[in-house]
């Protein structure tokens, strides 16, 4: 009897589950179908007309790059300073944002004895910092400071501080408290406990997240350049704005950007593998 009732219950539960999965699936399909048809209608060019033109532009710049011949490599080298500027934006932003994130994380985790009343406040601050799209801060600062790499740097750093702060505080939550207790038994101050008990435990994970963020920030800095923040993005905007004739330069920037992003990705995933072992920082 009891078994039969249990079986019945399991069956109804399974039916519910299947129903929910079906509803979920249908919902996703509905969103995709209606979304694509709607966005196709809203787009200034339709999908089908665009499809035939899809390879026109890449084809055009490849042809122009081909025609440039060996000079193409010279072009790539000539854009290296702009790429370096983008990398500088990303690195400085990650360094400053990362430093701020360490402070925020140390102030927002109960596990490392942060000051209680401050914890929820700092967490909300980090939420807001993460939510701010970089574009908005960058545009505002470009308006006040003028076109320069600094607005992009500040914008990226601001977002980085919030994003890394959250990840860092999650790392803090999982550390072993014994070293902290040992140190407080010797009468160590809060800063000393952070320095000698917390930091050695979290450093590899922090560094690994830092490198992951650096990858993301290189991409973000390149994009922000396009709205006037200098670096490779600005060069790209210039060459694209010229339209026909600058295809070889555009292609050179594309290649440079692609190679740099790949290199940084590979380098950082290799270093992250060394730091946290399994090669995955998630």
């Amino acid at each position: 009897m009891a078994v039969a009732a249990l079986e019945q219950e399991i069956l109804t539960l399974r039916k519910h589950r299947q129903l929910y999965s079906l509803i979920g699936l249908l919902l996703v399909v509905a969103v995709l179908v209606s979304g694509y048809s709607k966005s196709n209608a809203m787009n200034s060019g339709g999908f089908l007309q665009g499809l035939s033109k899809f390879f026109d532009y890449p084809g055009e710049i490849v042809v122009e790059a081909w025609e440039a011949g060996p000079a193409f490599f010279g072009l790539i080298v000539s854009f290296a300073p702009a790429m370096l500027e983008t990398l500088n934006i990303a690195l400085v932003a990650t360094l400053l944002g990362g430093a701020a994130a360490v402070v925020l994380a140390m102030a927002s985790t109960r596990n490392v004895d942060s000051w209680g009343p401050l914890i929820p406040v700092v967490r909300r601050v980090m939420d807001v910092m993460r939510a701010f799209p970089e574009l908005i801060i960058a545009l505002f600062l470009i308006f006040v400071l003028g076109s320069s790499p600094v607005p992009a740097m500040i914008a990226v750093a601001f977002h980085t501080a919030g994003a890394l702060g959250k990840l860092f505080s999650e790392v803090n939550e999982n550390i072993d408290r014994k070293p902290i207790e040992g140190l407080s038994a010797c009468g160590a101050s809060w800063l000393q406990r952070i320095r000698f008990a917390v930091l050695p435990q979290v450093a590899p994970n922090y560094l690994s997240y830092f490198l992951l963020r650096l990858e993301i920030n290189v991409r973000a800095s390149a994009i922000l350049g396009f709205v006037g923040a200098g670096g490779i993005g600005q060069e790209l905007r210039r060459t694209i704005g010229w339209g026909k004739g600058a295809g070889d330069e555009t292609a050179a920037i594309f290649v440079l950007l692609f190679v740099t992003i790949m290199l940084i990705d590979q380098l950082s995933s290799y270093m992250r593998g060394k730091l946290v072992g399994s090669g995955r920082a998630h």
Binding site: V28, V31, L32, G35, Y36, K38, S39, M42, N43, S44, G45, G46, F47, G50, L51, K53, F54, D56, Y57, P58, E85, N88, L91, V92, L95, D127, V128, R130, A131, F132, P133, E134, L135, I136, L139, F140, F143, V144, L145, G146, S148, V150, M153, R219, A220, A222, I223, F226, V227, G233, L236, I240, F254, L257, F258, I261, M262, D265, R280, H282
Partner: protein, 444 residues
């Protein structure tokens, strides 16, 4: 003892070497970072930037985004007064219904700016009385402006020029005299005409009045119901363009949702091809992995530029750019998750005589579902932000609207309105996705 256990002997020497290396790193790393920051200080030319920055623009933006001005203008060519919100033709007061701080009488006017500040306009002369300073007299002539200041040094809020007199003793009061016109600006807090346009019959109605109107059966417009009339008047407000802003926000969200879902749908099957334990062909695996790298490496910036060329402006362009980049990122993440699954579960399902499809469905999918769901939701959240940036590159949506309102830099309150809405949407998406994540993965 050390020899007994065959452990390498730790000598005084090795300990010191380690300690010294440690100490060197602790000193050298901060020095290297500091040196790098110093280098970038010069590479970015920060000092020059600070020198030519325009903090006054930030002040203008800040005041203008929380305040609006009502301006009293006397144009000598037309010889008449005009009182208008933000000086716009569509928001001009009728001379019979002027605000009570303006007193017009033919060719003269008395404008009370509060706290003892007042402006008297008589013919082509404006007298600005400023408490604690005196009266500034500006007269427009055929050649320019004659200014008479009280004795003593001129304060820095008075800008005297033979062609233009500009007096702004406080942030919210201003007088401008040129040879063609006199303008007095009075600033008020808040966003003007936010709900309804100046000319609308609904202008200045309170919320309870609107509520009563919506329920009343007397139609304002015989064609439509009152509620719809109110909504329509609100959405088509020409100063704020609520309708357009909402459409743009919707476009941005659509880009993020469509792009992420598409990426997830294509990334998952491809991930099976890239995972060592599911695809034995090295060639296929290598090919799929390079495809992921290629899609990711090209980056959203380049994809959007290519798609804008092909498909024009709109949410489709942004959705495809996000979908292409993230098929690479999600595919890579999924394939790593697939390589780390526990094979025991798959073998257990196989032992019951399950087919290949059933093994995937009951042995593999349940294991990677949490990773799948949480990563897709993370990407959805971050793509909402990315979609604003792609929009600014030219794909449309709220990003483009923001860039355009900033470029015209006429009404900063519109810019702040868009900024606030964008941030609210991003925070909402963030909250929704973390709520869903909790619900789906931790089971409530």
């Amino acid at each position: 003892m050390a020899t007994d256990t065959m452990e390498p002997a730790v000598t005084h020497e090795t300990v010191w070497r380690t300690v010294r290396r440690r100490a060197r790193i602790t000193v050298l790393v901060p020095i290297a970072i500091l040196a790098y920051l110093t280098y970038t200080w010069f590479a970015f030319d920060v000092s020059a930037l600070l020198a030519k920055s325009q903090p006054d623009r930030a002040v203008i933006l800040a005041t203008d985004s929380v305040a609006y001005k009502v301006q009293v203008e006397k144009n000598f060519r037309r010889g008449e007064f005009k009182v208008a919100i933000e000086g716009e033709r569509t928001a001009t007061y009728d001379n019979a219904e002027l605000p009570d701080w303006v007193d017009l009488d033919g060719d003269t006017a008395f404008i009370d700016l509060g706290d003892g500040y007042s402006v008297e306009i008589d013919g082509k002369t404006a007298l600005f009385a400023i408490p604690g300073y005196g009266v500034i007299k500006g007269t427009a002539t055929d050649k320019g402006v004659d200014t008479v200041l009280p004795n003593g040094p001129a304060p820095d809020w008075v800008k005297v020029d033979p062609r233009k007199l500009n007096v702004r003793p406080t942030l919210d009061r201003r007088l401008q005299v040129t040879k063609t016109k006199i303008e007095v600006h009075n600033y008020f807090g808040g966003w003007e005409n936010f709900w309804f346009p100046f000319r609308s019959p609904l202008y200045g109605m309170s919320f309870s009045q609107l509520y009563a109107l919506a329920l009343s059966s007397d139609r304002m417009d015989p064609e439509t119901s009152n509620l719809w009339f109110i909504v329509d008047e609100f959405l088509s407000n020409p100063d704020w363009q609520h309708g357009d802003v909402f459409v743009a926000l919707f476009e941005t969200i659509m880009m993020a949702v469509l792009g992420t879902l598409t990426a997830a749908l294509f990334g998952l099957p491809l991930a099976f091809l890239a995972a060592r334990n599911f695809t034995s062909s090295t060639f296929l695996r290598f090919g799929t992995r390079r495809l992921f790298d290629f899609l990711r490496g090209i980056d959203m910036l380049i994809w959007s530029l290519i798609f804008i060329r092909a498909f024009g402006l709109g949410p489709l362009t942004g959705a495809l750019a996000i979908a292409f980049t993230d098929t690479g990122s999600l595919g890579k993440l999924f394939s790593e998750a697939l390589e780390n699954i526990d094979n025991k579960q798959v073998e257990g399902v196989r032992a019951t005589g399950a087919s290949q499809i059933q093994r995937y469905r009951f042995g593999v999918i349940p294991q990677i579902l949490p990773v799948f769901v949480s990563q897709v939701l993370y990407y959805l959240e971050s793509n909402t932000r990315s979609a604003t940036v792609i929009g600014a590159l030219g794909a449309g949506g709220i990003g483009l609207l923001l860039v355009e309102t900033m470029k015209t830099s006429r009404d900063w309150e519109n810019t702040s309105y868009i900024i606030i809405l964008t941030i609210v949407v991003v925070i909402l998406m963030d909250q929704t996705s973390s709520w869903l994540r909790r619900k789906l993965i931790e089971g409530k």
